[in-house]
Symmetry: C2
Subunit: 295 residues, 2 copies
């Protein structure tokens, strides 16, 4: 797939994801909950995780209906984590995706509830309808629950909280990011692969790819926090330094962090090359996008 | 089962539930997350929902291993909702189960994360191991996700938030409680039934039973908030009136609310009587306990 082919593929994929999110996130949930959920999920975000799910599914020739469910579920978990992360008791951020954050717009109580309901909705989406067989539903629920919970995203956020103002060894920093951001990016690839019947070689190659892309994403995030403006990022820039948070930039320096991101990009490509899969060009380009992105 | 038999049954059931919670909620989750999760879940609570799961499973001759997983998962959802409910942006409560609330002890950020991780853990528990077949895992995940999310508990909490200080019609009040407290109590019974092969008549009787018990629980909660002290309740008493929240007592008066609770108790018994099931005595006594409880 050439970049032109990828553009058409990603446009079509994004349209499907937006439409599915719009269908799944209820407008009529009571007490303003539906509005708060929709405000937190729709019309924003790069949808990187859904694209990884769909691309990995295609790489293994998996079922597209199942993959779209998985893509929606992963994005709901990601979006809920942003809603809760932005709240005053966590990062206290007022700007996200270029708009006021959910608690600024809808109040803290409804923001917390909306996040909670978005997490539940992710598992509702994975277990709805009869198009997806029950054993795949169960496998996808299990993968997502582990990536979202104490051993994954929530655990990484707790390390992050506990580490503010402390120097961290590279190993601890990597462990924090592997859980906080990496786990959900990696599980996007793994869930996509679980929508088909990947052999053990392909499955472990896709896992290695997901691991490298997940870590690269966070390294680049740390770089962008230093080098870009809030206007470009659509969220408050320079927060890591301001909050004295350990980052790859504080650990490796700006050039060191950039070099590390490129090394991870090469590692992602190498995993695909050794995967035995043929249709991996969308995954390949997604890895490039993660490293080259400017916001 | 006579009350004496029930005492032995419930002691054994509670011991199993406490042991399973202790095994499942990790002590070693990083950044203090494990401690906060365990503080919010262990050593407290009446474990009414787990008891309903186990009793309903026994009523249909279901699988005890599956039911224990379901019991732990439901209690994790209940416990996470209390942790988030108690936070300053919601009910701002400092006392729960006779102890300082999680955010008082561990800080708001970790309390929010612990609640988030407890919700994920519920789905992790339901999808772990090979003792439970994958299709049952998927069914249980789906039931729990719907009961916890926008159409259930989270939706009811949003109605509650939106209704503070407003007079509510009985129908709206019932709808709020049916979602906020009732959905999780009812799904406890339904998930217990899903651990076996209940016929349609038994399944719908158990649903009706769960519906009546769920509503009765909330009516009694409203009564106790007025009639009991904080010391007896282990949480702050008199909060509904202080926050000008609509309750069954404000709608029906104290005697009216008590009479309604007894009517629901009779409805629960009637559902069991018409269920065609024989082993329903634990469920029958649990319905009585819900209405007669004094804390």
């Amino acid at each position: 797939m050439m970049p032109a082919g990828f553009d058409a593929w990603s446009r079509a994929a994004l349209a499907k994801v937006e439409q599915a999110l719009d269908l799944w996130v209820p407008a009529d949930a009571p007490g303003g909950l539906g509005e708060a959920m929709r405000y937190g999920v729709l019309d924003g975000g790069k949808r990187l995780r859904p694209l990884l799910v769909l691309a990995a599914c295609e790489a293994v020739g998996g079922d597209a209906v199942t993959a779209l469910r998985a893509a929606v579920a992963v994005e709901l978990i990601h979006a809920y984590s942003l809603v809760h992360d932005d709240m005053p008791c966590m990062d206290n951020d007022v700007l996200r995706r270029g708009k006021p954050t959910v608690h600024v717009r809808h109040g803290e109580a409804l923001a917390m509830l909306a996040g909670d309901a978005m997490q539940a909705l992710a598992f509702e989406v994975l277990t709805s309808g009869e198009e997806v067989d029950l054993s795949t539903q169960a496998r996808l629920c299990g993968l997502l629950a582990r990536a979202a919970g104490h051993a994954g995203m929530a655990g990484g956020q707790a390390i992050d909280l506990a580490s503010v103002g402390k120097p961290l060894a590279e190993e601890t920093l990597r462990e924090m990011h592997r859980r906080k951001t990496g786990a959900l990016l990696k599980v996007s690839v793994v869930m996509g692969a679980a929508c088909g019947a990947a052999g053990p070689q392909a499955a472990s190659a896709l896992e290695a790819y997901g691991d490298a892309v997940g870590l690269a994403f966070q390294v680049v995030d740390d770089v962008l926090d230093v080098t870009q403006s809030s206007a470009v990022l659509g969220k408050t820039a320079g927060k890591d330094q301001q909050q004295n948070k350990p980052t790859y930039v504080s650990l490796l320096g700006l050039e060191g962090a950039r070099a590390y991101a490129h090394a991870l990009q090469r590692r992602a490509h190498a995993a695909l090359a050794g995967s035995g899969l043929t249709e991996t060009s969308a995954l390949s380009i997604l890895a490039d996008m993660v490293v080259r992105r400017e916001s």
